[in-house]
Amino acid sequence: MTPILSAANVSKHYGAIRAVDDVSFTVAPGEIFGVIGPNGSGKTTLFNCVLGQIRPDGGRVAFQDRDITGAGPLALSRLGIGRTFQSLQVFGGLTVRDNVIAAAQEHRGTLWSRLFAAPEIGLGAKADETLALFELAPHAGKLAGGLSYGQQKLLDMAMAFMADPALVMLDEPAAGVNPRLIEMIRQLLQRLNRERGTTFVVIEHNMDFVMALCQRIMVLAEGRVLAVGTPAEIRSNPAVLEAYLGA
Amino acid sequence: MFADLAQLTISGLATGAIYALAAMGFTLLWQTSSTINFAQGEFVMVPAFIMLGFLGIGMPLIFAFALTLAASALIFGVGFKRAVVDPMIRHGVLPLAIAAMALSLALQQGVKLVFGAEARSVPDILPDGVTRIVGVAVSYRDVGVLVISFVLILGLQLFLARTLTGRAMQASAQNPDGARVLGINVDRMILYTFLANAALASIAALLVTPIYLAKFDLGGPLGLKAFCAAIIGGFNQMHGALAGGLLIGVIENLTGAYFAPQYKDAAALVLFVIVILFKPEGLFGRREERRV
């Protein structure tokens, strides 16, 4: 089976610092793949290289066998790669419902057909369904900027799923969220993975969350791959322990 | 031919030095408090009228100017910061810039209401007269403006680079949080930059109004040139403002003489648009990380 996402020898240097150094990995369709590592291990840089925010100095990135090295965020989202951001990223001046519709509308029709389309562009039902799934239905008519932090985090995630992406990249979904919500997010992600077959790549600091969520985990340290394996394998890997404790 | 070029360049430099004075203060405010001061031209225009007021009651020029400096420090230093910038800054760069536009409108119209719309002549502190250097007529006035501007700008640079207060001001501009940790009173340092801006503008008023004439709408064109100078030179570099101002002054004159006088005003703007599009950090500026 071809991997849904593969990176081969990806490198990114800032002067003498090798932020990402010859990293390769593959993600199979339907997998939940975690990326962890101490601070400064290159997680975010790698993420940005894959997502086209930064152009890598070397290596290749492919999505479903299609070369996407250096392709911009617009191209990737059009291909069906969803993502969330480390910091909150919703459209504060739009209602919650409009936020989720905005997240999917560009996948329907052409630029010109959208001008003349009905306001909800046929996404009304899907928006309500998604909002219900993320427990945001009671807030549908509120301005997104007025939601609590946790609600905005959920909305951010809901937006990433609106366009039925095959792959979603999550940048620290558990950061700054209370334990009850973390648990809810974990269950939601696993449910989406199970029911819709969505593939996830997750960058996360919260070890418990990653271990409970992911099927396979890659550990980065100083820009290089330290280990790849199941949560159990990673937990018992002495090199990983050393990297974390040593750091 | 050479003499003409030299002549144009010298008077262009003198005009440009004035732009630079206004542009410097502009850059200062931007660096320390993200203020795009659209009323910068009025900060030059109003002191001219304050000075005329003092002169009108028979005060000698030097005293009148000293009092003007004090008044403008109070109004455009302390007052502007406390009444406009402090409450607006949390709303963002753009609302603050628009508030400055409203201020500029109010100042222009206020002066017009009080002093009328007619131009008034202002006494000159610089000597009148011309000297010839290798066939080029150089006026004492141009030389005076250039020298005063250079001394001021270099003095300010030295102050910022060499003195404790100056460095604290720079630190407050570049990294306010860090500066606070070091025990610097950031708010006070920012206030100093506002005072410096007010002082620069008053001196610019003293230098330009004998030629520009004191008129309620003189700030518009001057402010516009100052923006252009600041951006062309680099919004985050003090010497950029100087270079930008001088460059505009000279380019305008050369355009007027050798290309198309009716597009003289466009010269600075064309240069400015090109710089904005291809080197937005300015010709001499540092690249700023784009903050999202």
Partner: protein
């Protein structure tokens, strides 16, 4: 008088009642007569407009003190066009809504050109300070000048340049607005007709500050004389620059360059300039000098030609209305055709004047020179009709 339509009547009622955009117009007291003056009280035309307004004010005050026009008190309202033609047109509309007897202004020709049709449509006599040739070439029977047009004045300037200055070539520096452009076109034509070469023709900006390149170009053209046609502030600035660059050929102007405001603003740099003026307080005419003293007493400044024009305009209205014996706009406009008014008849017009059938006037004019910071009249030129 214009017929009051049903709509207007309604408008007056409604205006008084509610919105207030319409103020009572016809409901003025019978013993007053209304003037509206639409003029440049700020912007590039501020000096002209302010003098014009003050001239009108002085005439109105004096006439009112002497019992008004035909026993009616004059009420005058001044509106500021900000030297913006669009604004001028709007304000002329507004002025006409007030139903005045006579409309005054604007002074800037561009503003006159865009607004005069509005007054014409309302059959409203309009006294303008504008000098553009086109103003009286539209066949508008309600427009009247208070000074020469540029085509009347420029022949005098061109003849002066050729015959007295003996210039075979002339450099021209002009301001690129309606005033400057009109004057430049007129002088170019007159110079060419007389075989005087235009060595260079330099346009400058309204609000321009640095004139070094303009003066340098004129200087390098090496013509026998320089003709400067700018507004007041810019004239003062360019004179300083001209002196600075040590230009030593004759500098000639028309009306503005040797005017009071320019001399005041330019200081010593104005000395030696020569030019033609249609009106000046320095004219060797007792009535004008007396006017000048009264003007200075009232407004604490020396009137320029526009002050005289405003004063003159009110007195023409007074003289013609007296002849008619009633307030009738249509009759007034007709009476203005080919009229001749002498100072014996109406001392307020200051100099004998005659109008043609298009609204152009003719009278003496003056050649002046600035000496020691004062404008001095060096010659009186006869009216064109007699020259």
């Amino acid at each position: 008088m214009a017929k009051t339509t049903r709509r207007e009547a309604l408008g007056i009622l409604g205006g008084a009642a509610a919105v207030g955009l319409a103020r009572p117009a016809i409901a003025q007291q019978p013993q007053t007569v209304k003037f509206v003056n639409v003029v440049e009280l700020s912007g590039a035309g501020v000096t002209s407009g302010t003098n014009w307004r003050d001239g009108i004010e002085l005439a109105v005050r004096e006439l009112n003190a002497a019992g008004g026009i035909l026993g009616r008190r004059i009420e005058v309202q001044h509106l500021d066009t900000a030297s913006n033609p669009g604004q001028a047109r709007a304000l002329v509309t507004r002025a006409i809504d007030q139903d005045p007897y006579i409309l005054f202004g604007p002074v800037f020709s561009g503003s006159v050109m865009v607004s005069m049709a509005v007054a014409q449509e309302a059959r409203m006599p309009q006294f303008t300070g504008g000098e553009a040739t086109a103003i009286t070439a539209q066949g508008n029977p309600y427009i009247f000048r208070t000074s020469f047009s540029q085509v009347q004045a420029m022949p005098k300037v061109a003849a002066y340049l050729k015959d007295q200055v003996r210039a075979q070539s002339v450099s021209i520096i002009w301001v690129n607005n309606d005033f400057g452009k009109g004057g430049r076109d007129a002088i170019m034509a007159e110079l060419q007709r007389r075989g005087v070469r235009v060595a260079i023709d330099v346009s400058t900006e309204q609000n321009q500050v640095d004139f070094s390149s303009a003066v340098l170009r004129a200087k390098n053209a090496n013509a026998d004389a320089l003709f400067v046609y700018l507004n007041e502030d810019e004239s003062a600035r360019i004179l300083r620059e001209i002196r600075r660059q040590g230009y030593d050929k004759p500098i000639i102007g028309e009306t503005v360059l040797p005017s009071q405001q320019v001399i005041e603003l330019a200081g010593d740099a104005a000395n030696g300039i020569r030019g033609h003026v249609g009106l000046t307080v320095n004219a060797p005419i007792p009535a004008i000098q007396d006017f000048s003293r009264r003007f200075q007493a009232a407004f604490n400044r020396i009137s320029d030609h526009n002050g005289i024009k405003g004063f003159f305009a009110v007195h023409v209205v007074n003289a013609v209305t007296k002849r008619l014996g009633r307030f009738d706009r249509q009759a007034f406009a007709e009476a203005m055709k080919n009229i001749r008014i002498t100072t014996a008849d109406a001392p307020g017009v200051l100099m004998d004047v005659s109008y043609d059938d298009k609204g152009n006037l003719d009278r003496d004019s003056f050649l002046v020179e600035v000496r020691n910071g004062r404008q001095e009249v060096v010659a009186v030129l006869p009216p064109i009709g007699r020259s």
